[in-house]
Symmetry: C2
């Protein structure tokens, strides 16, 4: 038979079993964290009619979208999860209760140039709170708390969330007489970290034609090192939107400690803009403290009109998105995945030593009833190979059942972590193993 | 702005929030059940190079496959999970330890004619045990136990697993002198339930040209009402494969009670063939006892050569597959989803009654620390609307925080299930709520 060379497409992540357990555990911890904040899970189709996914209009997105047709229907794979959400809340508006809090962790597809750490198929983990007509600022204040809870649940500790407000930014440029160029200025200022303030000044002058006075105000505003509310105070009373944005930032700052976010883990940062035009209030970006060079690992913000392509209803919202495969890739690259994380497929390997398999089978069943993950190894191999199966898979306990054990109503268990071998009743040993496994399961996937 | 009418493709399941919680809980319970048997999770790409997914050869499969191209690569969406597994074990052979037990719960795509209960995008939940060169019969005996555990964990009780052995079936037809027509006979006999034995006899005679003696032997074999081992015994010693198959069935029967499968939940059924040609040993098919008309809800069997299109290595295996969307659809249709299943997005809704939101935020954080799912409702609405938000979402507890409560260091909680209102310390009420939620979470999704 002619063989096809097995391969996986470039840009498509495929993990080995123990890595997959880390990845899945991370996803589960995110789900659990999102649930604590009252987000309900959604699972929308990966494929939609092209007109739905392209409703927002094409450009770069359309070029990177995987499109196909079946019969006479033009189809596409989703590029992100927000359009699916917009369709969902429009379509099921009457069945939903607002504010509607949902999370979705699902695969998205982008036909980008494949490169290290960039994926063509990857999971996005999104949370959004969608209001019907209006949405209280409290929801914006809560988002950093969700990020904090979610990332600490993975085991991450050294990260921080940059927070700004687009109302402040946009109207600041109005105040200094550059309101018509606000979007371009924000895009340029977003590069501050990369280029430094001298280069930034030059770009603002040469590319956008700002005056020296304007540039100097911008630079001192976005690089202000003291309490940001001091410099915000300087511009108070000059523009209503600016004052509203300042008030929103103050509300956030006031509530964040109550929401359990330590001061070490967020920073109100007047230079943060986030590229996308549709943010209209608070914006967020999350960074690994020790690895600023990898860039944001997740972000989002407040927007005013989620579903304008599908409905006349005004649905403002706030949300964030984390790209999980990229995050996982970074954690792997930076050696931040924990060696102590327990990813064995089984807690116990039972090796039957008699022809009659019933005692081994009964033991397996009772251990599973106790919640243990159990495999029975009965392949026709040498004893050494059987034990090495447990070693290779990091199975921490091996149970032997020979004539003597069966007669005596006991089992022999070897703790593979220290080589200790114990013979006792299965009930007693099962209880002991359960305790040890519980300990092992406490270690989070990230160090 | 021009609006696009929001819609979801026909044949693509999209659930409302409370239904999604049931569906997700079912998936989680399957994962937990599979894990108890030492299956490790995999998550292979949904998209592969076409040549990989079509390695087996096309036919009906190819017609129904979603195919596309990007650049100069021909791509396709997976039609089932087995080909991805075959590719995986071939590609990562050196990194894996055999027998290799994996489960995968993932979406697959079939461009079938959409009809009620048939989906174009649906989840398959697959488990497989792959051997390297050989695989012990114990693995085949374990599969019904996995099915039993998985389905009972969902809350299902009235189902049974039909079990047969392809070695027995194939060689039985050899024994009666019809070995050359074995495959066609099996396909025909598979229709026994639908057409009855008279019609079956006619088909065997007219379509396959079997003699009356052969037909009578077939009918009495596949419709035998007594202990199947009685009739198997009649043919003993006539064919080596037949005897091997009989022995395998006997091993299964002997071990199933040790594996915890009650006699009421399986049946050795000599008429069961399963369509697919590649099964070579035990085969399984699962039915809802009270709804035989909906057909099998999951099945599988033993095969000898998983990855023959990708590698020369012989990798025998055994596995089963459950189509989750169809199962969910049937459970919904048959009103088998439980009304007692708890699917609210939040356990507690906190309604702040003061301008200062800090006490409400702090309360939310401490309740979340205790593991409760909490939302704070601070939209600018009338009190009645705030409470009705909890009602609409079936949130069982509402906590009020007014001036009096804040001064007194207490909170007021209303139990929405019975209308009782209690004022006490937040620690005390949190503990009480946790207990009640624990009770609510005990109800499985299926009745």
């Amino acid at each position: 038979m002619r063989k096809i060379k097995p391969r996986t497409l470039s840009g498509f992540m495929e993990l080995l079993p123990s890595e997959q357990v880390s990845f899945d555990t991370m996803m589960q911890k995110l789900r659990d964290s999102f649930s604590l904040f009252g987000f309900t899970p959604l699972d929308t189709p990966l494929m939609e009619a092209s007109e739905i996914l392209l409703a927002k209009g094409g450009g770069e997105t359309e070029k990177q979208m995987y499109q196909l047709s079946k019969g006479d229907t033009d189809l596409a794979l989703r590029y992100e999860l927000t359009t699916s959400l917009a369709k969902y809340v429009s379509l099921y508006y009457n069945d939903l209760t607002f504010p509607f809090r949902r999370y979705e962790i699902g695969k998205v597809y982008r036909g980008e140039r494949a490169q290290r750490g960039r994926f063509r198929e990857f999971y996005q983990a999104d949370i959004d709170i969608i209001g019907d007509g209006s949405l209280n600022i409290l929801n914006e204040a809560e988002i950093p708390s969700v990020i904090y809870k979610a990332l600490t649940s993975l085991g991450l500790s050294r990260f921080y969330i940059r927070i700004n407000n687009r109302k402040v930014l946009g109207s600041f440029y109005e105040i200094i007489g550059a309101g018509d160029k606000a979007t371009e200025i924000m895009r340029t200022v977003d590069k501050l970290d990369k280029v430094g303030s001298d280069k930034l000044s030059k770009m603002l002058s040469e590319n956008l034609g700002l005056t020296d006075a304007q540039i100097s105000e911008i630079i001192s505003f976005v690089t202000y090192k003291g309490d940001p509310f001091e410099i915000l105070d300087k511009y108070k009373g000059k523009n209503e939107t600016f004052d509203k944005g300042t008030e929103e930032l103050l509300t956030l700052k006031t509530l964040l400690s109550g929401f359990g976010v330590p001061e070490s883990h967020y920073k109100i940062d007047l230079s943060l803009a986030r590229g996308l035009d549709y943010y209209t209030g608070t914006v967020y970006e999350t960074y690994l403290t020790d690895y600023p060079e990898v860039g944001s690992i997740g972000g989002g913000g407040r927007y005013d009109n989620l579903a304008e392509y599908f409905t006349d209803r005004k649905m403002p919202g706030v949300g964030i998105s984390i790209g999980l495969n990229r995050l996982f890739y970074i954690l792997q690259e930076q050696k931040l995945l924990s060696d102590d994380f327990y990813s064995s497929p089984a807690d116990v390997l039972i090796i039957p030593m008699t022809d009659d398999l019933s005692p081994a089978v009964t033991l397996a069943t009772s251990m599973r009833e106790a919640g243990l993950k159990v495999q029975i190894y009965n392949e026709d191999k040498k004893f050494k190979v059987k034990v090495s199966y447990a070693n290779k898979l990091d199975i921490p306990f091996v149970a032997f059942l020979g004539e003597d054990e069966i007669k005596g109503g006991v089992i022999t268990v070897k703790d593979m972590t220290n080589g200790q071998q114990t013979t006792a009743s299965s009930a007693m040993l099962t209880a002991g193993i359960c305790d040890k496994i519980k300990e092992l399961n406490k270690n989070p996937p990230v160090r």
